[in-house]
Symmetry: C2
Subunit: 323 residues, 2 copies
């Protein structure tokens, strides 16, 4: 198999090669896609060595400050830290969430860190695919901590939880009020909940921690491999960072990560395949699909009749079944 | 359009015609399916007149006693009550959850009530489809309250919530302990939570009601059309039945039911279609699918490469897109 020219420098940890490889996987040019997939297949066996941490929280909760504080703390201890973002809204605006130098002034210039804003999506698998692929590249380049940040648009939290080892929800000390702003289902994805800016109001932070602990406990089934917990932290003065990292280590020691990652990869493959099969079917059929749906909603056809008609499956013969 | 011989007696409310029509939709004979779909299309315009209530709760919570108490209370007030069940496990056992005469001794012989155990599934749409279709038939036969019960196997709660107007979770007074046994996501489907057997331990029932209220409040987004609430009830002595029914009426007055039902029907149609498209694709491909999945898990192919190969989409041409 021919080796891609970016492979060797990327495996040697050269940041420029990594940045160029990510640009390659972001490209929407069809010939670039074939090249990018060949590079990914080549680098795949060298990936998988990082702790993958997903992170979400409403705007204003201090995600950037948290990443800056945690990232610098880790980088100072010899870790190599990559920061990626999933932001479906950037497909529309075409840009990143905010300038990284403004958001993370220290981390963005640290030699042990690599920050990449949200890659543009739009093709098969969307933004989530680009971020997964960028994660593979970062791991092959030797980054041992990958932080994947999401702004919480659409399905992005589920996607990020589905590609990371551990999913972190960042909240504010007034979490009791804030919780209602948290989207349905987020609490259930969460492995650690972190009350950020705990120094601003210690009493409120304690209360928020208790409320989060109770909510997480309610939502965790008996016999779960890991019982999600709530922590306090102040990204601004660095308080709680070490305890956070200890919880991450404990999580890694508790959960069967290889099994979790295999499940994630298999699920991701199935999802991509279903999406591609569906797109292939829908292609050129949008008008007739819309007509059948209207007839169903008007009560002129039953859903089953409409489905059979669309698939050219006569109603008096059995439907195809998987063997 | 020729009229089905069962249509007129069913529309006249004859229970035997209704029972025979449900047997027809349950049939797995291909020629029966065409006949059943024609009958459903004919009766569709006469359906939709019932309050559709979904009901779930762990075994032992008193679902049968609750349905018996509520059903008799309603039937005595002139309502016509149909009880259906979604039980995916019965596909395997071939039977219903339990004999209805044992479970609901009064309701099962009441002239205003119609009880039908879980229809067998297995074809396109599975058990949920049969139950939806049975609901249509009950409504066409003039039943104005339809209770759909689920034993909570697999996705059945989501399916029942997706076919009913209002979804009810039944719990016990020791809900604080019990909550952890409730499957993830159930609380989020729930419009009313009912602490059953409240008479057995009033203090525990009060506590359970508070805990449920708090949990529901946490999970309900700001601006929700309806704020789910918790009630207490004793099915055994009838206490709380009237308050339950008042809450159902309030729900109906608050929520835009026609919009909710249109969304449900459209979602159901899309789901059936995706399932049929997927089954058609998978048919005869299980071996090659398994091979590609193994190669992906072994890191020999990227998921995108495997998907392209399976769909015969060359990597150097753009994928098909919906127009």
């Amino acid at each position: 198999m021919p080796t891609h020219p970016l492979a060797a420098p990327l495996l040697a940890g050269q940041r420029r090669a990594l940045a160029r490889a990510i640009t390659l996987i972001e490209s929407t040019r069809p010939d670039h896609e074939a090249e990018a997939q060949a590079l990914l297949a080549e680098l795949g066996p060298h990936a998988g060595g990082a702790v993958r941490i997903g992170l979400t929280g409403v705007p204003g909760v201090g995600k950037s400050t948290f990443i800056e504080a945690l990232g610098l703390w880790l980088a100072e201890r010899g870790h190599r830290v990559a920061v990626l973002a999933v932001d479906p809204s950037s497909v529309r605006t075409g840009g990143s969430i905010m300038g990284d130098k403004t958001r993370m002034p220290g981390l963005s210039v640290h030699p042990g860190a690599f920050i990449r804003p949200s890659p543009s999506g739009g093709t098969l698998g969307g933004v989530a695919r680009r971020t997964r692929e960028a994660m593979t590249l970062c791991e092959a380049a030797g980054y041992d901590v990958v932080l994947v940040e999401t702004v919480g648009v659409g399905q992005s939290e589920t996607q990020v939880a589905g590609m990371t080892d551990l999913f972190v929800l960042l909240t504010l000390p007034n979490a009791g009020d804030e919780l209602q702003g948290i989207k349905r289902g987020i609490m259930e994805l969460c492995d650690l909940a972190v009350v950020n800016k705990a120094d601003t109001d210690p009493r409120a932070a304690n209360r928020a921690q208790s409320q989060l602990t109770a909510a997480l406990s309610l939502l965790t089934p008996h016999g779960a491999e890991w019982r999600p917990r709530a922590l306090q932290l102040s990204a601004l003065n660095g308080q709680g960072i070490e305890a956070f990292w200890e919880a991450v280590q404990e999580f890694r020691g508790t959960v069967d990560l290889p099994a979790r990652r295999r499940t994630q990869t298999a699920g991701w493959f199935d999802e991509l395949l279903r999406e591609a099969v569906w797109k292939t079917f829908v292609q050129g059929r949008s008008q007739v699909l819309g007509q059948r749906r209207s007839e169903v909603l008007a009560g002129q056809l039953t859903p089953v009749q409409a489905v059979r008609a669309l698939l050219d499956l006569p109603l008096d013969r059995p439907e195809p079944r998987p063997r």
